[in-house]
């Protein structure tokens, strides 16, 4: 599927009544969630009032710049913004940096080095925030968000799962 085709598909779905669309063809996979999906999700969350809700982005994907054309379309095209909690509290408007893989979480390049980031540090998009080591492969994780680190959610050298939140970031920090 070409870049253009994917863009057209996104537009088409946005205009339709669909909340979610998935297409799988061999190794190629695309899934698109529209504004309607997240509106529905938010309604659910408001009624349930849940803290550990799945990270449900709150915007339509249409305005998102599409990923470069040569990539495996793992449809990570939604921003990772959590829906704003109505009940206020500390987690208001915070973003998560998540682990892209199963592995061991390390906060610094080696045990004698300082951590990449500490609570209170500012991160840019593309700041290295940690390492996730898997099978002797060292994966430096770059932040996808901009803001101030408000919480480190995982202890150094502990195992992490795919998609597990690692840091909380305040985008207004």
């Amino acid at each position: 599927m070409t870049h253009k085709e994917i863009q057209d598909l996104i537009k088409l779905i946005d205009k339709s009544k669909l909340a979610e669309f998935k297409l799988k063809n061999g190794d190629f996979e695309v899934s698109i969630r529209s504004q309607k999906y997240f509106e529905a999700k938010q309604r659910e969350q408001v009624t349930v009032v849940q803290q550990s809700a799945p990270a449900a982005p709150a915007q339509a994907p249409v305005s998102q710049p599409a990923a470069p054309a040569e990539q495996n379309y793992q449809p990570d095209i939604q921003p990772q913004e959590k829906p704003k909690a109505d009940d206020g509290g500390d987690s208001k408007g915070l973003l998560e940096i998540k682990s892209p893989m199963v592995g061991t979480f390390y906060r610094s390049a080696s045990p004698d080095k300082p951590p990449y980031v500490q609570v209170g540090d500012k991160v840019e998009e593309s700041s290295v925030v940690c390492i996730v080591e898997a099978m002797k492969l060292f994966n430096e994780i770059e932040s996808e968000v901009k803001g101030k680190i408000v919480k480190v959610l995982v202890d150094d050298a502990s195992p992490v799962e795919y998609d597990q939140p690692l840091f909380l970031v305040d985008p207004k920090g």
Binding site: Q71, A134, M135, K136, N139
Partner: protein, 256 residues
């Protein structure tokens, strides 16, 4: 990409991986660019460990590689491709010896470590942006001072001959070129994994042989390596025929 189209020689450096990372933090370089030295004084081993080399006697090089469409779930394929290329290159330089890959990525002859791999990936938004593939080879060392987790060997110890580390580099780059695709195929990560695994298992130390293993809970058992999973876990069957998959920290070989 062809690895080695751009080669940078440094007479002495802390670590070639670090050197590459310093370059890419300031400049844009081509995928396949290689930095090499015969004097690496602070080589990186696994997390928090060192790779020891001796001035002028060993080869260390790092390749900057942009694996385009590689997703994090397939990084172990990259590990196998590099191990396969490195092992095949060393095998061609050491006829008469049996060069093996010890899971996940040590290169051994008999049970002694000849070369090591350290891959550092930069990941963002579910995509591997780039990799720095670091390789250390013991070329002309004839004695090793430091204590090692695994007994080292060198090409000189194996062949009783001095080798030109520059020529060793040349051969290894050719072999890596042959094994590493210029970019990961867009829609066929599973096909590439299967193909690569076949070569990897063929060269895997202890593959399909009864050996003694120790689990992380200290239990010792006789087992046979029969496969590796896409995520890199090793599949070992015990004498009762029970198959179990192990992560790196869950299993080790009991050496003779």
């Amino acid at each position: 990409m062809k690895s080695g189209d751009h080669c940078i020689y440094v007479s002495s450096v802390d670590s070639t991986n670090q050197y590459v990372k310093r370059i890419i933090s300031n400049y844009k370089i081509k995928s396949g660019t290689v930095v090499y030295t015969f004097d690496q004084y602070e080589g990186l081993g696994q997390y928090g460990t060192q790779w020891y080399s001796q001035n002028g006697k060993s080869l260390a090089f790092s390749m900057y590689y942009e694996p385009l469409s590689l997703s994090p779930e397939h990084v172990f394929t990259l590990n196998m491709l590099v191990s396969n290329g490195l092992a095949a290159g060393l095998q061609s330089l050491l006829p008469g010896h049996n060069v093996k890959i010890k899971w996940p990525n040590d290169i051994v002859v008999e049970d002694d470590k000849l070369a090591g791999v350290l891959i550092q990936n930069a990941l963002k938004k579910q995509v591997v942006l780039h990799s720095v593939i670091g390789i250390g080879v013991n070329v002309n060392q004839t004695h090793f001072e430091a204590s090692y987790s695994r007994k080292p060997t060198s090409m000189a110890l194996l062949t009783s001959l001095e080798n030109d580390p520059g020529k060793v580099l040349h051969t290894l780059l050719q072999s890596l070129n042959h094994h590493l695709p210029a970019s990961m195929p867009l829609q066929k990560p599973k096909v590439l994994f299967e193909k690569t695994r076949e070569v990897y298992l063929d060269r895997l130390y202890g593959y399909d042989k009864w050996q003694t293993f120790q689990r992380s809970d200290s239990t010792i058992f006789q087992g046979k390596v029969i496969n590796v999973e896409p995520d890199g876990r090793i599949c070992i069957t015990d004498q009762e025929g029970n198959l179990q998959k192990y992560d790196l920290k869950e299993i080790s070989w009991v050496t003779r």
